[in-house]
Symmetry: C2
Subunit: 525 residues, 2 copies
Amino acid sequence: MADLTGRSIIGSQAGGGGEPSIFGINPATGESLQPGYAAVSESELDQAAELAADAFEVFGKSTGAARAAFLREIANNIEAIGDDLAKRAPQETGLPEGRIRMETGRTCGQLRLFASVAEEDSWVDARIDHADPGREPVPKPDVRSMERPLGPVAVFCASNFPLAFSVAGGDTAAALAVGCSVVVKAHHSHPGTAELVGQAVSTAVRDCDLPEGTFSLLYGPGRETGSALVRHPAIKAAGFTGSRAGGQALMKLAAERPEPIPFYAEMSSINPVFILPGALAERSEQLATGLHGSMTLGVGQFCTNPGLTILDGNADIEPFVAKLAELVGGSPGATMLNPGIHSAYGSGADALGRNEAVERVALGQAEDSQCQAGAALFRTSADAFLGDESLASELFGPSTLVLTHDGTDKMLALARSLEGQLTATVHGTEADLEANRELLDVLEGRVGRVVINGFPTGVEVCHAMVHGGPFPATSDGRSTSVGTRAIHRFTRAVCYQGFPDALLPVELQEGNPLGIRRMIDGKST
Amino acid sequence: MADLTGRSIIGSQAGGGGEPSIFGINPATGESLQPGYAAVSESELDQAAELAADAFEVFGKSTGAARAAFLREIANNIEAIGDDLAKRAPQETGLPEGRIRMETGRTCGQLRLFASVAEEDSWVDARIDHADPGREPVPKPDVRSMERPLGPVAVFCASNFPLAFSVAGGDTAAALAVGCSVVVKAHHSHPGTAELVGQAVSTAVRDCDLPEGTFSLLYGPGRETGSALVRHPAIKAAGFTGSRAGGQALMKLAAERPEPIPFYAEMSSINPVFILPGALAERSEQLATGLHGSMTLGVGQFCTNPGLTILDGNADIEPFVAKLAELVGGSPGATMLNPGIHSAYGSGADALGRNEAVERVALGQAEDSQCQAGAALFRTSADAFLGDESLASELFGPSTLVLTHDGTDKMLALARSLEGQLTATVHGTEADLEANRELLDVLEGRVGRVVINGFPTGVEVCHAMVHGGPFPATSDGRSTSVGTRAIHRFTRAVCYQGFPDALLPVELQEGNPLGIRRMIDGKST
């Protein structure tokens, strides 16, 4: 195992060695893991942000090829410590080694996907409108524009993806791909994993001859360090994945800064799954099995967990519910990420069970030990759901609430009542779907991704993915945190008017030396 | 002249005929113009927003071709009332008829430009990642995504562009082009012009068989009606051009809503003009003439007005300053848009003149009558400017503050001290520019558009334009209010996973029936 130092990474330096206050905890045993991490001081945080601003002056002007090489170097470095990660991350998170190895692969694949986009360089959306000096009544100037990086970006690690949404996860990859320097705030739930990946990134910064402030990694208490980072004047955007309360608190800070900044929070989603009668009649057991797999995957600790399952009470739903209950009841207990998440799941599930309008249909097994969670299946009526907004809150864990309605009108009312979601899923036969186009329309207006005859978990990292959605699923429904569309989180268009060719960014020079796709006088070339 | 009714337009109905409280005022004479306009009631505003939400369900699904036809019909209708506009708008705004006719042309050109983009339809950024059912360890799903409209949009008219940034201006054109219904809040400064254009849009809604709520036009007091509109739950985004105070108040409301929404405000900018020594030596008189033309254009009432002119005191600057002073001193007075703007310009110019560090170099002529403003030329040192942030505030009107520095370091310090701006301009010879690449870099990071050897006024409506910039120039530096990039203000990407071809939006269907540009498996086609 690479040596863990218990230090923040401030550019090329280790953070000061104050009293360690942040320890990884093995959620399966309660054991405290070494080393402990000291919180950064105010001046260290300030230094990291100022170094990021300095680095941006250089890194923000780097070529796409240079950034691609850097991203690939990070991926290589992470792969090289795959065994260390597979050892440390399970200790800190309770996630099995296989999951960590898969997530490591996904993270490296994600870095390489962004590398390919940075290298190809057409993402800059270069546009050229040529001059017309003879135009009447006034000459037309030469106007060119392209996307440029925003500046230093703060990235908050997520507890539930210690790799793919953490130190070198999606937001970091997107920010680095466009030329934004990055200051990462580690999650207290997996500090050692964060340091391992931080060292991998830091080594790549050095080996690629980039300015030291291109990357820093800070440890500190959630609210204080996170708030200070979002408030820091050198930070020009931030990305966050976490709770609705945490996300909204930081959204507020970002909006209230003297200079407000874009703040991308992914917060909460119950990811409704609509099962239409034809599909239920055709493959009830298969649907129950698929839903059970999706709701218990990763101990239900995915933002796309299917928390709401909607059935037409006029159909023969009992075999489906019985099968799902059987599967839930037979599910083995599993360790959740940390005591906070475990306790929130426990109290949320208890509150649901105590709700008079809700039936607790089945509970999975769970040993009465540290952070063990059992799957849970609840059931209620559409009217109860529509009358009690607490039932639409996210319960983060391996559960789903089955909801029965009495027909299309009520189903549409349910769909219309939903807040913004990351996903909505519809299971249906061809005839079901044809007859329920209005449902698809309503859902499209409320979610980032509509899934047909699949399950919402398992977010594909690709060019077309949208992992976002209207508030409160995220703070900014115009954006995605997965897939290459995410690079536009951290860019803005800049316009160059009347520039001599040699002073233009290379992407906008007349001869198109990079051979990228551009819009010239309104035509894409 | 078409009949003015003094009524708001609530879908297909006239707003209630309450007591008229909003009157156009001829700024040249103080004369109150008929008819008066009653403020909308709360229930009328609510009705307009709800109609917009209803209309969005249909209009949001319309084809690009249908929206293009609608935008062209609006342009035709506006052209058909060109004479009425050329008569009424000058009465309300003090702007000369020629300017109104030019702005009418620009507005119709803008509508047709957005029509061409809507019709061509590639703006949706369609992406397709094909399935791979045999992929290990898990099958790859079929994932497709494209930009979709956000929902009903509130548009605030600007006082200084009664056509191009008002009822059927840039924000309205962008919103309608993508399928967002629009609720416009008229500006009290040109209510009759707003109604004339509102009727033109409303007629087009009817003639194109669109749902009535596709467009509404509301009159009311700035703060109350505007605030209520931004707060209305049916409104999903808003665009505003106006003062920093007004913009920031509405930004705050938009961020504090239970469901925060994107809010695009264009607020304030002093648009620095850097004149480098070589250029000054080569064409001092021409520069003074050009700058004078730009600073007095439209009585200085442009957001791109060059309010700050930066000279190197080591160069022979006096001929330039003398020429500019001569031109400013000889400028005839002109009528400003309304008493509020006139009085703010007067008090702002007085305060500058009283500032001990500022020299009042020249004042233009101005009769002591209603809303007459004279041009003004002020001068100070770089150190005074850096030490007094009031000097960096926008003075909206025909003035510029000349600022001399003692060389490159101070010039760069000045550039670095600037808040976000819409534009920055640099005049230089080839050698000047080559020697000042760092200045260009610094400016690029602080503005939406960098102009070389031109002037910032005269914003070209084209595909490459960026009329935006970092805060406080705008509320959201990622966006532009002019040019076709503006359509992305009112859209978000939506992802369709596992959809049968027939249920996909036509832009994402496998056969590409519209023949639009798409990204397929990562390759642009």
